[in-house]
Symmetry: C2
Subunit: 220 residues, 2 copies
C-alpha cells in the first residue's frame, strides 16, 4: 500500500493514551459510588465501569470478600484462565498476566458439539466439562452463557474440581440473573464476582480479569 499519511487534525480530542486513561479513571472515581468496596476491589470495579462506559454499573457489582486475593494468588502461581467465550480470550491483555498464564476456551473444541447433542444442553455448557482436568485452582471467567455457569456449579456440586475464583458475568434475559444468584450462593465458599441481573458480557469479564491480573501502573 501507499505510505500511510496522517490526516489533518480537525477535532479537539486527547490523543495521549496515558492521559486518556488518567482522565477516564479520574472521571469514574469522581462520579461513581465505590464506598462499599475495599481499595483492591474498587480498582476492579473502576475497570469494569471503564469498559461499560457507565457509572451505574457500580451498584450491580458484588464480590466475595476474598475475590481479589484469591484470583491474584492463583494467577501469580501460574493458574490457567478458563473462559466460555472466545472474545474473552482475545481481550485479556497477555502482558498483564503475571506468569504468562494460559487462557483456555473449549467452545470450539471438536468434542464440544457432540457432548452438547448427547447431553441435550448448549455447547457453552458442554464445553465446561472439558475444563475438568485443570480446573482445580484455576481462574474462571464466564461472560456469555448462563448455561455455562449453571453447568460449572453442577460439576462442583457433584464433587468436581474447585476453581480458585469465578468471575461470573453472563449476560442476558433467560437465566443470566438466576445463574449469578446461584454463584453468589455457592455453598463451597469459592470466591466470586458477579454483576447482578441481566447485564454482563465479554467486555466486563475481560476488564475484570485484566484488573485482577495485575495492579495498574496508573492510579485508577
Amino acid at each position: 500500500m501507499a505510505d500511510p499519511t496522517k490526516p489533518t487534525r480537525r477535532y479537539d480530542y486527547v490523543t495521549d493514551g496515558t492521559e486518556i486513561y488518567r482522565q477516564s479513571f479520574a472521571t469514574i472515581r469522581a462520579e461513581s459510588d465505590l464506598a462499599r468496596f475495599d481499595d483492591d476491589t474498587a480498582t476492579v470495579v473502576v475497570r469494569m465501569i471503564h469498559a461499560a462506559g457507565d457509572t451505574s454499573l457500580a451498584a450491580h457489582v458484588h464480590t466475595h470478600p476474598r475475590l481479589v486475593e484469591a484470583a491474584r494468588t492463583a494467577l501469580n502461581a501460574g493458574a490457567p484462565i478458563f473462559t466460555d467465550a472466545t472474545m474473552i480470550g482475545t481481550g485479556i491483555t497477555r502482558a498483564r498476566l503475571p506468569q504468562d498464564n494460559e487462557v483456555i476456551c473449549t467452545l470450539r473444541d471438536p468434542r464440544t458439539p457432540g457432548l452438547a447433542a448427547a447431553w441435550q444442553t448448549t455447547r457453552s455448557a458442554a464445553a465446561v466439562s472439558l475444563w475438568a482436568d485443570r480446573l482445580e485452582g484455576a481462574v474462571v471467567a464466564i461472560g456469555n452463557a448462563p448455561t455455562a455457569l449453571f453447568h460449572l456449579l453442577e460439576m462442583m456440586a457433584d464433587g468436581g474440581p474447585r476453581p480458585a475464583a469465578i468471575v461470573g458475568v453472563p449476560v442476558g434475559f433467560i437465566g443470566a440473573a438466576e445463574s449469578k444468584e446461584a454463584l453468589r450462593d455457592n455453598p463451597w465458599d469459592v470466591p466470586w464476582l458477579i454483576v447482578e441481573g441481566r447485564r454482563g458480557g465479554s467486555a466486563l469479564a475481560v476488564s475484570a480479569l485484566n484488573a485482577l491480573a495485575r495492579r495498574n501502573e496508573l492510579p485508577t
Copy 2:
C-alpha cells in the same frame, strides 16, 4: 483427559439454545421501546440489547436512515469489515457473513506503533490509516477507541476513501460521546449507527455487525 461427564442437573434452566434465543428476543420485544425504528433497524437494535442485557439501550441507539441497506449491500458484495479492536474480529460470526468477507484489524500491525509515535496519537488511531487502500466501500466497526473514530473522520475530511457504512460505538469517558456526535454529523452522508453518550464497546459492535451481516433465522 478422562472422558468428560455430564453433571447431575440441579438447577432449573433452559438448555435448548434455540429456545433461549426465542425467549430472549420475545422478552426484549415485550420490554423495549422500538417504535421509532423501522423493522430492519429494530432487528439490529434487538441484537444489541441482547448483547448488553439492557433494554434501556434502545433509547440511546441512533441510525442513519440508510444504515441497514448500505451495510447489507456492501457485505453482500463482498466488502471487508474493518475494526479497531481484536475482540470485534473474534466476535463476528463468520457463518453469518454472506461472502466470507474479510475481517481486518490493524491494531497489531507492525507499522502501527511507529506511526502512533511519529504522529503523537494512539495506536488505535494510527492503525486506521493502514485501512486506506481498501476502505472505499468497506464496512467499519469501531467499538473501542474514540481516537480511531475521530481519525477516520479526519481521513474522510482530507478527501480519503469513504466506507459504505460505519458502526461507531466507541466507549468511554473521554471523547467517546463527542466522536459519535461527529460521526452522526458527518457531512458526506456516510450511513452510521451510534450509541450516543459514553456507552458502547466491542460486544455492541459485534452484535450490530452480526445483525447487519444476515437476517436472523429466528424471529427477533
